[in-house]
């Protein structure tokens, strides 16, 4: 086997089909999107080449920057929520009663389709007979807000279910990483008299640092291109109050019939995601591979 795998021709032969697929299905469309971004095109019929006009208009588009701000807010909250997930995972991975059951409970939101989650939370947020407002009215708040219809609250009202949706995924990743830590290390620390808090902070956290870095990238980039719940729950409204970059792109393409401009947004979004990934990797590049 080793002999085969060191043969360059065989390597090329193995790689070619996959490489071909990746190029054709991922990189060609990316280049195409950038190319469409140079066009004035309503999605039907002829395209007009207009150079960088879509991109220059995009730079001055207040609505786009508003949606970009919302995307960044979402990314920020997602990244912050990782601390909470980490905390829960550390407790779960310790020897507590019922950890097995709790793990399953945390995992359940991950098993639901986004649209189902959206429907569920829309019922919760329903202004007159939703669960949330019913509870609020029961405890004496007479006029609770209409969460998804309030321009100041809509974005935050959606961020909560998004964080809820991904809890299981990240807890599972952290949990697996924590379980991977050799028991002997924790044992040794305990014998040396370290408190559980010290063990978590000084032993466990550094040991799973690589996993944490990956989850930060996943959470931030995932948030920047987030779409599903926002589309179903508010469609970006009321009047753009919960619009994010991906939903704005969708609106331009499929509602406003401006595929060229939407392609420009898509391409710009790709560039932003690449830059953000690069920055995160730079800032977390130190102390690779501890054990």
């Amino acid at each position: 086997m080793n002999k085969v795998l060191s043969n360059k021709k065989v390597i090329a032969l193995y790689i070619t089909p996959a490489l071909f697929l990746v190029l054709a299905l991922i990189y060609v469309p990316i280049v195409q999107t950038g190319y469409y971004g140079l066009m004035k095109w309503n999605g039907i019929g002829e395209m007009d080449f207009i150079g960088l006009k879509n991109y220059t208009v995009l730079m001055k588009d207040a609505l786009f920057w508003k949606s970009a701000l919302h995307s960044f807010l979402l990314a920020l909250f997602s990244a912050l929520s990782l601390i909470g997930y980490l905390f829960i995972s550390i407790i779960l991975a310790g020897k507590i009663k019922g950890a097995d059951l709790l793990r399953k409970i945390y995992l359940i939101p991950m098993l639901l389709a986004s649209v189902a989650i959206a429907q569920l939370w829309m019922k919760i947020y329903h202004p007159s007979n939703g669960m949330l407002n019913t509870v609020l009215m029961a405890i004496g708040i007479e006029d609770p807000p209409a969460w998804l219809a309030d321009a100041n609250l809509a974005l935050y009202a959606i961020i909560i279910p998004i964080i809820w949706q991904y809890a299981g995924f990240y807890i599972l990743i952290y949990y697996a990483a924590l379980k991977n830590i050799p028991e002997s290390l924790v044992e040794a620390a305990r014998i040396d008299g370290a408190s559980p808090w010290q063990i978590a902070l000084k032993i466990k956290l550094p040991l799973i640092m690589n996993v944490i870095k990956v989850t930060i990238v996943l959470a931030v980039v995932g948030s920047l291109k987030y779409f599903d719940l926002i589309y179903v729950m508010t469609g970006g409204g009321p009047n753009g109050a919960s619009e994010v970059m991906a939903s704005y792109m969708y609106q331009k393409a499929f509602k406003g019939f401006d595929f060229g401009y939407a392609s420009a947004i898509g391409f710009f979004l790709l560039v932003i995601c690449l830059i953000v990934t690069y920055i995160i990797r730079r800032f977390t590049a130190a102390n690779e591979d501890i054990y």
Partner: protein, 437 residues
Amino acid sequence: MFKKAHSFLLIAVLILAAALAGCSGNTDTASGENGSKKTIKFMHLWPAGSSKQQNQIVTDIIEQYEAEHEDVKIEVEVLENEQYKNKIKVLSSSNELPDVGFTWAAGYMTPFVKGNLFAELDDVLNDGLKDSFVSGTTEAYALDGKTYGLPLELNIAPIYYNKEIFKKYNLDVPQTYSEFENAVKTLADNGVAPIALGNKDRWTGSLWYMYLADRFGGAEVLNKAIDRSGSFEDPALVSAAEEIQNLVKENAFNKGYNGLSNDEGKAEFLNGNAAMYLMGTWELPNFTTNEEIPQDFRDSVGFFKFPTVDGGKGNIDSWVGGPGVGLFVAENSKVKDESKEFVKFFVKKWGEQSVEKAGVIPATKVDTGKVDLPDLYIDVLNELNKASSLTLFADVQMSASVAETHLNLIQSLFGNEVKPADYAKQHEEALKAEEGN
């Protein structure tokens, strides 16, 4: 070892080849001739769940057609309204429209026609079909003197109201706007939502705006602003926007309307939580023949015309409405003749059956003497015959990108986030920018 690795590779390549073959296969047989039978692909937007009656009629018509034309098979795809609009756009950008499908009139249809995707239907129309349409309905589907769609529905939008609720609070059907405001106030004071509205879909709020614009400035003021022979900063259009915000201030709409879809808003009316609901006549089946809605409720639904405003130029018989969805035939269809034949058949049968079985008002003329119809339906039909003018829905009149601006502004207006003067100004700017293109 060596041998094993190679056989693994061989299998991998075979699987890949099979997968790719699966991707590219059978695109040719999808439409066009399929053995000896010809297949017409047909997409419509009346799923059995939300438009039961309409769906049933479509299925019946297709069965009849297939029975009469044994060499033709009709392949149906059904999508809900918003999904339908999206899918049609995706299909049209890759030039793969179904042979027959649904479209909306005017501004919505224009890019498809200019992109050469819809076939001319004048030959179908002149083949004895023309006289059966209510005058004015096919015109909305014409561009540069050629017709590209055949309308199925004719809609107007009355205000439906719950008679039981009105009786409970001693309210009469409002004739003037001040009576209407009084009704709104009485209902709101008693903790009943006066008006059901789901403004997440935005065109629902646009209906209210359009009526107020009409009642303040007359039937032409909005049309003129849109076709650029007038201005959106016309005082009547600004007053209409102010009036919307007055209604909002008086709690005229159910709570959270800007975050609720039209279906959720409608539910408030169907549940008896809200007293009034302004919507197109496509809702009539729900208030007349739909068995799934309790008889008690259906009996308690009445309708009235949007009241006139004091000093306004609008006429009470002027309606917001116009032809609803229509059928198109794809220009590049491989079975164009058969598709046109099918469309012709469909329009005729639809005209006969939609009235009786669904209580939908078709775009073709109705002989009310022949069929036994619910009173509510007859009343609406009589009003339609008296109509002094029909203003086509604003977002359908406008081009797609201006319509987007309009709809977003409507949502801001209802959310008190934009001042009426700015609301008008931003419309004017969007319309001007479009004109320059």
